[in-house]
């Protein structure tokens, strides 16, 4: 049977059949107890679980019966973040979840056999609002008990109005030529860094960081004391909008893959066969027939083989081509012509520190700033490398000029809903909003609370947020301003950060990656 995932805004009504059947399936799953492997909360715990946090948001009572230890050990706390398994693990999670929804509704009159999850493409014009079926406590089957409605969904301004502000999200990750990258300061790659089984690594892949993480916290909102479900990975799987968001992220993976030979999944066995192949935990999902489905990234990489497709896989953005950058940097016409049509060129292997600030930066209130001192030698290396584009022959055009990345290292804090805009080299006294050309990007603290605890999986290291600032550095270089000793970095939170959120950035650094 073929399954098509469709845009939730184009289904033909707020409560069109696919969304109404989704709600009925969710209601059936919610009616089951935590101890049942195909219950709503059990599936939420597969993504993440923390007894105190679950209690605080009202989804767990310590007196209730827990699942058996073997089930907990096999299924719970599996979500892969900060890992090249992020995309395939979540794909398997969605596939198993859909099977459960179909099983939950199959005996209801008129239920479609080919039901598939809709996706929420917040990038489409006028589709960045929360789909209406999720926003009201009422639904066609009842008053005040809409299973898709969640009280703890506070939105980007923490006022219950849920939407995705378009100035906070972007699709720059779609341009990344490499699926996997490094955790050492350079590009972590489109899909994340090569890790083992990783239930929360510190460096997220580019698609995971933006838009995935960003949409999570913008939709969830909330505070340290009262977090939105979507804002924290330990409770995110409890919100029904989670699955539509992830269907969109999964769709973006499919879109990215449409540009071979540059945009391809990792060929390594360690990725295709998953962490189970190297003696680590196996990805495993409980199914409605009582069995468990063990899967690997290789099993789910080709969606069409699984009978799935999306109704829209059109390119997400007009991506900047390598030839465009060479032209911008002054390469001669012959080189630019040779580079035309090349979808992407390999990123250089050398990653090295270019500069760093001194001392930790606390984020409170509505702004924070620091100065990143640059090493003269490495800065000259970057400038010389960018100048090479002018003198490059056709052979050299196959090697990408340096890329430059801003790293916010050891980011700790206890309000995952914090979203930050990061600006580079703003003129003194300038309003950040007046200088979009200086915006390095938006980042969020999705997963930071868990990463800030010394006795948890991250050992209190916090997160390391990586932003590509190649365009800004190119602009500085072309206007002869790169010859500076330091770069100012200004951090502007979307909402003022309270002191009790304890948000801090251990170090702000800049890395070059290239020849």
């Amino acid at each position: 049977m073929a399954f098509t995932r469709r845009n939730v805004w184009n289904l033909g009504g707020d409560w069109a059949d696919p969304i109404l059947w989704y709600a009925r399936g969710v209601a059936a799953m919610k009616a089951k107890t935590l101890a049942e492997p195909i219950s709503w909360r059990f599936y939420g715990a597969i993504h993440g679980f923390n007894s105190q946090l679950w209690q605080r948001v009202g989804y767990y009572d310590p007196s209730e019966k827990m699942p058996g230890a073997p089930d907990v050990k096999r299924f719970w706390l599996q979500c892969q973040h900060g890992s090249w398994y992020f995309l395939p693990w979540h794909r398997g999670y969605l596939l198993a979840f859909e099977q459960n929804i179909r099983a939950a509704i199959k005996d209801m009159k008129g239920a479609p056999k080919d039901w598939a999850l809709p996706y929420w493409n917040y990038f489409k014009p006028n589709q960045n609002q929360l789909p209406p079926a999720f926003a009201s406590p009422d639904w066609p089957d009842g008053k005040g008990n809409n299973p898709l409605y969640v009280k703890q969904r506070y939105g980007p301004d923490d006022n219950g109005k849920v939407y995705v502000p378009m100035d906070e999200v972007n699709l720059k990750a779609m341009d990344d030529p490499d699926f996997t990258g490094v955790a050492s300061g350079g590009s972590p790659g489109f899909g994340g860094v090569d890790t083992g089984f990783e239930h929360g690594g510190p460096v997220h892949g580019r698609l995971e960081r933006q838009p995935h993480d960003q949409v999570h916290v913008l939709v969830g909102g909330g505070t340290r004391q009262d977090p939105g479900l979507m804002s924290d990975p330990r409770i995110a799987g409890l919100d029904p909008i989670f699955y539509l968001h992830h269907a969109n992220i999964d769709r973006l993976w499919q879109v990215w893959r449409q540009n071979p030979p540059a945009h391809v999944d990792p060929p390594q066995d360690n990725w295709k066969k998953g962490p189970g192949n190297t003696g680590q935990r196996v990805f495993s999902m409980p199914l409605p027939d009582g069995t468990a489905w063990d899967y690997t990234p290789g099993d789910v990489a080709d969606l069409s083989k699984l009978g799935y497709n999306y109704d829209d896989l059109s390119p997400a953005t007009a991506a900047m081509q390598p030839a465009d950058r060479l032209m911008r940097l002054g390469a001669n016409a012959e080189v630019v012509k040779a580079a035309k049509g090349v979808r992407a060129v390999a990123t250089g292997k050398n990653v090295e520190l270019l500069g760093a600030n001194q001392g930790a930066l606390k984020i409170t209130g509505s702004e924070a700033s620091t100065s990143v001192k640059l090493d003269q030698g490495v800065r000259n290396k970057v400038a010389a490398n960018l100048n090479l584009a002018k003198a490059a022959g056709i052979a050299e055009a196959a090697i990408a000029p340096d890329r430059v990345f801003l790293n916010l290292e050891n980011v700790r804090g206890f309000s995952d809903a914090t979203a930050l805009k990061v600006y580079i080299d703003l003129p003194a006294g300038a309003k950040p909003a007046d200088h979009p050309e200086r915006l390095a990007g938006s980042v969020s603290l999705f997963g930071a609370s868990k990463a800030s605890m010394a006795d948890d999986e991250h050992a209190g290291k916090g997160l390391t947020l990586v932003l590509e600032i190649t365009d800004i550095v190119d602009a500085l270089h072309l206007s002869n301003k790169l010859n500076m000793d330091s770069l100012d970095v200004r951090i502007v939170p979307r909402r003022p950060v309270p002191k009790d959120a304890e948000v801090s950035i251990g170090r702000v650094s800049i890395f070059r990656q290239g020849r």
């Binding site: 090249w84 490499d178 996997t180 990258g181 490094v182 955790a183 050492s184 300061g185 350079g186 790659g189 860094v193 090569d194 890790t195 239930h199 990792p266 390594q268 066995d269 192949n277 190297t278 003696g279 680590q280 292997k349 990653v351 090295e352 520190l353 500069g355 760093a356 001194q358 001392g359 930790a360 001192k373 090493d375 030698g377 490495v378 290292e409 050891n410 010394a454 006795d455 948890d456 999986e457 991250h458 050992a459 209190g460 290291k461 251990g506 170090r507 650094s509």
Partner: protein
Amino acid sequence: MTPAARERWHVRTPVLLVSVAAWIVFAIEPGNMALPAHCPAAMAGMTDFSAAVDMLLARPLSATMGWGLMLAAMMAPLLIAPVRHIHDRSFACRRERAIALFAAGYAAIWMPAGVVLLILALVIGMGAPGSWVLMVVVTIFALVWQFSPIKQSCLNRCHAHPELAAFGLAADLDALRFGLKHGIWCVGSCWALMLLPLLIWRGHLAAMAVVTLLLLSERLDSPAPARWRWRGPGKAVRIAVAQTRMQLQRS
């Protein structure tokens, strides 16, 4: 090989070579360089504590080298992750210097800790020379520590990677401070297991190897809440079996 795997390899290889070199010296010169030459088991026949200490102090350089070599052999593989952190987050021109300072800080904790462990082993060894009952008691004590919440707390902090200053004296001090802190948590985590090889005369090298594998295995596990729990080589064994299976399938 992925970019991240390539970077791991670049750090892992020289660090492991240091360890292998130390093991080779042990294997070639066990009588002169290895710790048993000075260890309590070697002094098992002595009954006078001060005479034993005198014997130890009479060859301080040799004893220091022996302990340093033992550390290099057993602990270097545990330092791959922190050394990678320093390597990745330092300027390319300062990497070697920063790693050396980290190692100096780390050794500054472990070297005096070694003196304490040696004296402790000396006292235990002289109390009941060659007694298997004593070995069992010490082993049980080491296992209790191994499964304790304190051990887990120390182990968790061995996984911490602090922010490091990049320039000048501040960078040097941060690298040194990281080494000192890492050394403290490493001693807290490993001291009880490190005591065991010091008490074993016959099969000393084998005991060192077993303890090294156990220490290495437990570092493969992710940090976890501090509570009583089994901490064994399970994950390492599963990985080793899987890797062997993969190699066999390839050949």
